[in-house]
């Protein structure tokens, strides 16, 4: 009896002790306390890191128009106005079918190449219950060379124009400012320049960004191509740049030793050398259009 009394007394006094922050406590009941699963947004600002794909996808129902542009090489000197006389361009459209599936098409001035791809985020970094430590994206593209055949007298097949790319992008936003990604890549080229060149090219991509301010980030990207001959005088692609975000635009300004802007060019066909100043200044500009307005609740 005595014990029950004590227990009751204690129970009674508990709320009194907690009186001053009682409302806080009641509110805390309504608080999920970070237990709900919450996806990490915006691992990167752009759907492309610089040349290659990033782990970021456009949102559902969003159409993105992207202009990627590279000037000529800086070391061409004053006669070429340090590369600014020259231009390589890719025009692209990307669309988010859902928040985890994106498709896109593009046209490259280099080798008059058309490309089409899909990107599927099959794992998304999240926190809360059943948290996922990283985002995993599967990327697959097809690039079609649009040049006229150089030897029309030979038998030429359409399939010889095609290059396929398969890429797994693993990315993690370590902090609000710092994100990293690793992307094992396999390219298959139906036609190569010489017998020594490989049809299948393996590469490992590395990319990262560091946000200097909320709207300005430093970005780097490197592709290490696994041993094997891919092109004469071949180099690994390395790029450095800034992402600048304003409203519905992302501006990406960068320096790179790759002239092309899709995997087919940047991974096996980069021959320019940072050390000798074969550096291209370039930019990507994206603009998004919301085709599907979300219903306001």
């Amino acid at each position: 009896m005595k014990y029950i009394l004590y227990i009751l007394l204690v129970i009674n006094t508990l709320p009194i002790m907690a009186q001053e922050n009682e409302l806080d406590k009641i509110l805390a009941e309504g608080d999920s306390g970070g237990k709900n699963k919450e996806y990490i947004e915006a691992i990167f600002k752009g759907t492309r890191l610089i040349n290659g794909q990033s782990a970021k996808l456009t949102h559902r129902g969003v159409l993105q128009f992207m202009i990627s542009h590279r000037f000529g090489r800086l070391n061409t000197g004053i006669s070429e106005f340090f590369g600014l006389d020259d231009a390589t361009i890719r025009l692209g459209l990307d669309y988010g079918i859902s928040d985890v599936l994106q498709i896109g098409i593009g046209r490259n001035s280099l080798e008059k190449t058309y490309d089409a791809y899909f990107k599927w985020a099959f794992l998304r970094q999240s926190k809360g219950s059943r948290a996922m430590p990283f985002t995993a994206v599967l990327f697959s593209s097809m690039a079609i060379n649009g040049l006229t055949f150089s030897q029309p007298e030979l038998e030429n097949n359409f399939k010889s124009r095609i290059t396929y790319t398969y890429q797994l992008i693993l990315a993690r936003k370590f902090s609000e400012r710092f994100s990293l990604q690793v992307s094992p890549t396999l390219l298959h080229r139906n036609l190569v320049a010489t017998r020594q060149d490989q049809h299948n090219v393996g590469a490992l991509g590395f990319g990262g960004r560091y946000k200097l301010t909320n709207r300005l980030a430093l970005v780097g990207e490197y592709f290490y191509v696994l041993p094997g001959k891919t092109a004469d005088d071949f180099r690994n692609s390395f790029s450095l740049g800034f992402d600048i975000e304003t409203g519905g635009h992302v501006f990406q300004l960068h320096l790179t030793n790759s002239q092309g802007m899709i995997e087919k060019f940047i991974i096996p066909q980069t021959t320019d050398n940072w050390g000798s100043g074969d550096i291209y200044f370039g930019f990507n500009i994206s603009r998004v259009f919301d085709l599907k307005k979300r219903k306001s609740p």
Binding site: L5, L23, D24, G30, D99, T246, R294
Partner: protein, 183 residues
Amino acid sequence: MKKLFLITLLINLHAGVWAQKYFTKTGHISFFSKTSVENIEAHNQQASCVLDFATGELQFQVLMKGFQFQKALMQEHFNENYVESATYPKAVFKGKMKNPATVNLNQDGVYTLEVSGELLLHGISKPLTTQATIEVKAGKVYAKAQFNTKPKDFNIKIPSAVRNNIAETVAITVDAVCMPYTR
């Protein structure tokens, strides 16, 4: 001894029955920014609210990530660049109603009360006073209020490129249906 026990028990029961507190987890808080360029609005249906008519105290709390925008990119920018939700996940209002005793909770009726307190947003606390409507209907309390805030006051920086798109004064609407809170 037995008497003491009964009294304690009575107090215990009494505390449970005496519902002066009203509570919800699904309050609706929205904001609206109107400029000649575009209108921006966002809604959050998961505001936690608690009102105590015994003391007049009230609290509202909302997770910034819960605001839903029409455009996905706007929502991303809101969280990433403006309110910095990862650093400041919540907005909290703690305040007091003036003359809470005028509200008769046992009878349907509509009251207008002055509410004043502190709004914590983006890590900055600012005093806020507004008129609130309290409607008692079928045992529930409908709490409504509308007030204006300036992003600048809460150190939310708006870059010059989008200055014309985001209003200097943003209208905030609160609409919560609270149920009696019993422990």
